[in-house]
C-alpha cells in the first residue's frame, strides 16, 4: 500500500511541477507577444470573442501537445529527473515561442494581432494562428522525442532539429500560393473562413509530412539530414498523385468560380465549403503520403 501511495504522491508532485512550468510559459509568452498580454493576465471570457478563444486555445492546446511526449525517468534519482525535465521544458517552450514568432512573421507579416483579433474578431486569422500553434508544437514534440531517444546530446539535438524544421516549414508555407487557388491576403482581410480552413489543412499537412520525415533515429547528423531531405522530396512526388486520385475517386469539381459567393456589402468572396475542401484534401493527402514514404519496410 505504501508503494502505491508513494507513486501517487510523486505523480501529484509532478503535476504541480508541470503546472509551474506552464505558468513560466505563460509569463514568457507575453514577453515575446506583448500584444497578447490581455489574454494571459486578465480574466478571459471565451464567449466574448470567438476568434480570440480560437487563438488562445490553439496555443494552450499546442502547449499540451508539446509536453505530451516528455519522459521522466526516476531511475537516476528524483533530482536528476526533475532537473532534466525542467531544463528540457524551458528550452523547448522558448524554442516554441521563437518558432511561433518566426512563422507569424513569415505568413502574417501584413496583419497585426491587436487589429485582427481584438478589434476585427477575424476568425480566419485566428485559425491560421491556431494552425501555427498546433503544427509547430507537433514538430517540436517529435524533435524532443527523436532527440531523447538518441540518448545523448539531447539539448543540442533539440536545437538542431528545431532549426532544421523551422527552416523547412518556413520554405514550405511559401508553397501555399502554388497549391491553393485562394488569395491569402485578400481573403484574410475579408475575414473569410475558407482561407482559414484551407491554410489550417495545408499547414498541418506539411507538419505531418515533416514530422514523419524527421521521426527516425539520429546516428550521424549528415546522413540524418540527407535522409530527411530525401523523404520530404519523395513526399513531394507522392503528394500530387494521392491528391489527383482523391479528386478522381470522389469526382470532386474544384471550380473556384463556382465557389464565389457574394460577401458583405456585395464584395465577391469564396464559400466556406471550398476552404473545407482544400483543407481536408491537404490533410488527407498528407496522411496518405506518410504511409507511402514512412511506413513501408523493405526487406532489402
Amino acid at each position: 500500500m505504501n508503494e502505491i501511495i508513494d507513486t501517487l504522491i510523486i505523480r501529484i508532485f509532478l503535476l504541480i511541477f508541470i503546472c509551474v512550468i506552464i505558468l513560466l510559459y505563460k509569463y514568457s509568452h507575453f514577453l515575446l507577444y506583448p500584444s497578447s498580454k490581455g489574454q494571459f493576465l486578465k480574466r478571459f471570457y471565451p464567449s466574448k470573442n470567438a476568434a480570440e478563444t480560437v487563438h488562445l486555445f490553439g496555443r494552450i492546446l499546442g502547449l499540451g501537445l508539446l509536453f505530451s511526449q516528455f519522459q521522466i525517468y526516476l531511475t537516476d534519482g528524483f533530482f536528476y529527473a526533475f532537473f532534466d525535465f525542467f531544463i528540457t521544458a524551458v528550452i523547448t517552450f522558448s524554442l516554441y515561442l521563437v518558432a511561433l514568432y518566426i512563422m507569424e512573421s513569415i505568413a502574417l507579416y501584413n496583419f497585426e494581432y491587436a487589429d485582427e483579433i481584438s478589434k476585427k474578431k477575424n476568425m480566419s486569422y485566428a485559425l491560421i494562428s491556431a494552425a501555427h500553434a498546433l503544427g509547430l508544437a507537433k514538430l517540436l514534440q517529435v524533435s524532443v522525442n527523436v532527440s531523447t531517444e538518441s540518448g545523448r546530446h539531447v539539448i543540442i539535438l533539440i536545437i538542431f532539429l528545431w532549426l532544421f524544421t523551422v527552416v523547412i516549414i518556413g520554405f514550405a508555407i511559401k508553397t501555399f500560393k502554388l497549391i491553393s487557388k485562394l488569395n491569402f491576403n485578400q481573403l484574410v482581410v475579408q475575414k473569410n473562413l475558407a482561407i482559414g480552413l484551407s491554410y489550417l489543412g495545408f499547414f498541418l499537412g506539411w507538419v505531418i509530412i515533416i514530422s514523419s520525415a524527421i521521426n527516425q533515429p539520429i546516428g550521424d547528423i549528415k546522413n540524418y539530414g540527407i535522409q530527411v531531405i530525401l523523404k520530404i522530396l519523395l513526399s513531394l512526388i507522392i503528394f500530387p498523385l494521392f491528391h489527383a486520385a482523391l479528386v478522381y475517386i470522389f469526382k470532386i469539381e474544384p471550380d473556384l468560380e463556382e465557389a464565389q459567393i457574394e460577401g458583405a456589402m456585395g464584395v465577391p468572396t469564396v464559400s466556406t465549403g471550398y476552404g473545407i475542401y482544400e483543407g481536408c484534401m491537404h490533410l488527407t493527402t498528407a496522411y496518405l503520403t506518410t504511409v507511402i514514404t514512412g511506413n513501408i519496410h523493405f526487406p532489402f
Binding site: N223, I226, Q227, I229, L230, L233, L234, L236, I237, P240, P299, F300
Partner: protein, 226 residues
C-alpha cells in the same frame, strides 16, 4: 504543362540526389567474367576467386548481388560484394562455394571454369605437398605458412586426394565444370553447405503457409496461437 515539367524535374532531382547521396555500401558493378578479368586493382596474382553467395534484391527491378572471396596468396584474402548482370548471376547460380576464376602469375589469360575451391593450389609445390595417409591415399597438405587456406577455401575437415586432383585435371582438359566425385561442391554440395554460411539465407523471410497465417490473423486473444 508547366506543372508536369516541374513534377518531372522533382522526380529527376529525387533520383539524382538519392543516387549520389546514398550512404549505404557503395558496390562496384562487375557484369561478367570479362569485366572481372579487367579488375586489375582487385586481382593481384596469384588469385583464386570463390563465389560465397548470390542473391537478388528488389521486387520489380531486381539487383543481382554476388559475394566473392578473393584468395590472394601474397596480399591477403578479401571478401567483396558486387552487383552483376542477370546472365552472370544465372550462370553462377549452382556455383556457390566454387572457384569461378583463377589468375596465375605470368599467365596470359585467367581460367574461368567452375572448379572446387583450392583447385588452383593443388599440385603447386610452392603451397603444399601430397602426403600419404594410413588408408593408402595421398592427400594435399598445405605448407605451414599457408595453413589457414583450408579454412579460407571452405574445406572444413575435408582434404583433396590425388585421385580428386587427377579428376580436376581431366575436367580442365575437357573444359567441363567439376563439382566433386559426389557433387560435394557447388550450391547443393554437402561440403559447401557445411562450411559456407550464406547471408542470403538469413535475409530471406521464413514464409509461413497461407492457412496458418490466415488463422493467426483472425485468431482470438488467449487462444493457442497467442
Amino acid at each position: 504543362m508547366g506543372k508536369i515539367s516541374l513534377y518531372v524535374l522533382l522526380i529527376l532531382i529525387y533520383l539524382g540526389l538519392a543516387k549520389s547521396l546514398k550512404t549505404d555500401e557503395k558496390r562496384m558493378t562487375i557484369n561478367g567474367i570479362d569485366e572481372l578479368k579487367s579488375s586489375a586493382s582487385l586481382l593481384r596474382p596469384p588469385t583464386s576467386v570463390l563465389l560465397l553467395d548470390s542473391y537478388s534484391e528488389g521486387l520489380f527491378l531486381k539487383t543481382y548481388i554476388l559475394r566473392l572471396r578473393l584468395v590472394r596468396v601474397f596480399s591477403g584474402t578479401k571478401d567483396i560484394t558486387i552487383k552483376t548482370s542477370k546472365e552472370f548471376f544465372e550462370a553462377n547460380k549452382g556455383n556457390i562455394g566454387m572457384s569461378i576464376f583463377r589468375l596465375d602469375e605470368g599467365a596470359p589469360s585467367p581460367e574461368t571454369l567452375p572448379l572446387p575451391p583450392g583447385s588452383y593450389f593443388l599440385g603447386h609445390f610452392t603451397f603444399g605437398s601430397w602426403r600419404l595417409i594410413n588408408s593408402g591415399q595421398r592427400i594435399w597438405k598445405f605448407h605451414r605458412s599457408y595453413r589457414d587456406l583450408p579454412e579460407v577455401l571452405g574445406w572444413g575437415k575435408w582434404r583433396p586426394t590425388k585421385t580428386f586432383y587427377k579428376k580436376i585435371i581431366l575436367h580442365k582438359e575437357q573444359q567441363l565444370p567439376f563439382y566433386g566425385h559426389n557433387d560435394e561442391f557447388g550450391t547443393e554440395g554437402t561440403i559447401t553447405k557445411k562450411n559456407i554460411r550464406r547471408i542470403a539465407e538469413a535475409r530471406i523471410f521464413k514464409r509461413e503457409d497461407f492457412l496458418p497465417h490466415l488463422k493467426n490473423l483472425f485468431s482470438l486473444p488467449g487462444n493457442q496461437h497467442e
